[in-house]
Amino acid sequence: MFTGIDRLRAPEGTWVDARQADHELIADYYACHDERFSELHHRYSARLEGFLRVSGLSQSEAEDLAQEVWVRIMNTKYPSPGSRARAYNPQAGASFRTWLFTISKRLLLDAMRRQGRTITFSTLERGSQEEEGEPLEASLHVEEPSPEEEILTRQQQRDVHECMNRLPPRERIAVALWLETEGVMTLQDLANMLEVSVATAHRVLRRAFELIRECLEQRGPRES
């Protein structure tokens, strides 16, 4: 954790800039600085496990799958002949974070499929721009919560967890992806990660927010 600290000591004893961008860290790792990979791992480890947990895995399943993701990402530096793994390329347009969570989502769906839980976003495709309900804004950005809003009660935290757990798996994964990208991505980004059209991504997310709102309202207002 390096909130408020500009520099920190990396595992190998070297100094690294805590604000170094993700794409620079992975580029340094590819250029033989293993400690930079550890920095990325440290930066996203809890978020990745959180995403997998929110998406419906148990704690131990989430830890297990998160490690699988990291090992695969580590190995993109060492591709073997015939391997499909490709190194991260910022020129391809996606941020490192989007790339990381796209890989995670694919492995998550594979894991769920092995458990007999098939989740297909594309079944929602209708080949049209048909929308349901009020349109969300093109940008899914929401401002940082204010200090007052950050003072959440444990009860509110539990309510949100409970309502998230009640979401159908598809909606839950869509919200988990949106959350893990810190609300800075667009509908197009989300659609790319889910590998569906913008209209479908919109429909899934819209439904998810509606279900959560209904669930929270049923549980009644909470004192903060």
Binding site: G50, V54, M74, L140, E149, R206, F209
Partner: protein, 312 residues
């Protein structure tokens, strides 16, 4: 409550969750090994005492180890053979540019002890084959081989030098399958191969240290078993040896003609260890020694005659 309120609340709760999770993880995993270290140590076998101690007590790191192990890539024997061929100037075009680059990196940059040792075993054979000067025969001369992809101790979640160790490990690359197991009489290697050409009836089993040194070498002649199957067995360590820890098992089926003077030192101890665990060994060795006497160099004769006497 509108969409924006829901989104803000979700984000606030999520940030709190992440913060709590990060704090917990930072405490729980403060002493865990860095991920790239697993890969390097698995390839180079240079685990420190502290790392071993930590792995023994940390289930999270053991899980990581097993994942890194599962994704570890080694060149095939064919790739190593053709790489050597190119190095010796007898084979060209058998490896793609991509393969050549990856094999080179694996040996030079990664310094994989296992594959460096395999190259060491293959080099004299490749040199002999290269001397014959026929490219086509070089391509066909690669002997059947099998080798554990990771040290014996990592055959399961166990770890070198600790309790509840790995007691069985297998390696297979067709047509050779090798199994190392702790039996009543000791640590025994049993091998089976299919469709062996007669001239390839001699197995060399090596246990290799993380530093790339050969800790033990045994020779064993194959016996025909059934149909096209051939089998052989030998003991490599006494039963009181608790674990074979960091050692790699490398097995190669060699042409008997490849034996040189240095190998003779290993033949007598190998015979004793084969007879101890393999009922077919006596007949197989008699056949093998007889063949060696026919084709072997004169300097081998004294040793081979002694072996022949022992066998009768």
């Amino acid at each position: 409550m509108n969409d924006r309120d829901v989104m803000k609340l979700l984000r606030a709760v999520h940030e709190l969750d992440v913060k709590e999770h990060e704090e917990r993880r930072t405490q729980e995993r403060a002493h865990c090994l860095q991920l790239p270290r697993f890969r390097t140590a698995l390839l180079r076998g240079d685990w420190t005492a502290d790392e071993r101690q930590h792995l023994h007590s940390c289930s999270y790191c053991r899980m990581t180890l097993s994942k890194v192990k599962a994704h570890l890539w080694h060149p095939t024997f064919r790739q190593l053979w053709h790489y050597l061929g190119e190095d010796l100037g007898v084979a060209h075009g058998d490896l793609s540019d991509e393969e050549r680059m990856h094999v080179g990196q694996h040996l030079a940059a990664d310094q994989c002890r296992r594959c460096l040792f395999i190259v060491q075993v293959l080099r004299p054979l490749a040199q002999a084959s290269a001397r014959a000067g026929v490219v086509e025969s070089f391509r066909r001369s690669l002997p059947p081989m099998s080798a554990t992809p990771v040290p014996v101790a990592f055959g399961t979640a166990g770890f070198a030098g600790e309790g509840n160790e790995t007691t069985t490990v297998e390696a297979e690359e067709k047509p050779l399958k090798v199994r190392l197991a702790r039996e009543e009489t000791g640590w025994v290697i049993r091998a089976e191969a299919m469709d062996l050409p007669v001239e390839y009836a001699l197995a060399r089993f090596s246990l290799v240290t993380p530093e790339g040194r050969e800790w033990s070498r045994r020779y064993a002649f194959f016996s025909p078993a059934f149909d096209a199957w051939w089998t052989t067995a030998t003991r490599v360590a006494p039963p009181d040896m608790a674990a074979l820890g960091d050692l790699h098992l490398v097995a190669a089926v060699l042409p008997v003609e490849s034996l040189v003077e240095e190998d003779l030192h290993y033949l007598e101890p190998s015979l004793a260890e084969c007879l101890a665990v393999d009922a077919q060994a006596k007949e197989a060795w008699q056949r093998g020694v007889e063949r060696l006497l026919q084709i072997g160099d004169p300097f081998m004769r004294a040793t081979l005659e002694r072996l022949k006497t022992e066998l009768t």
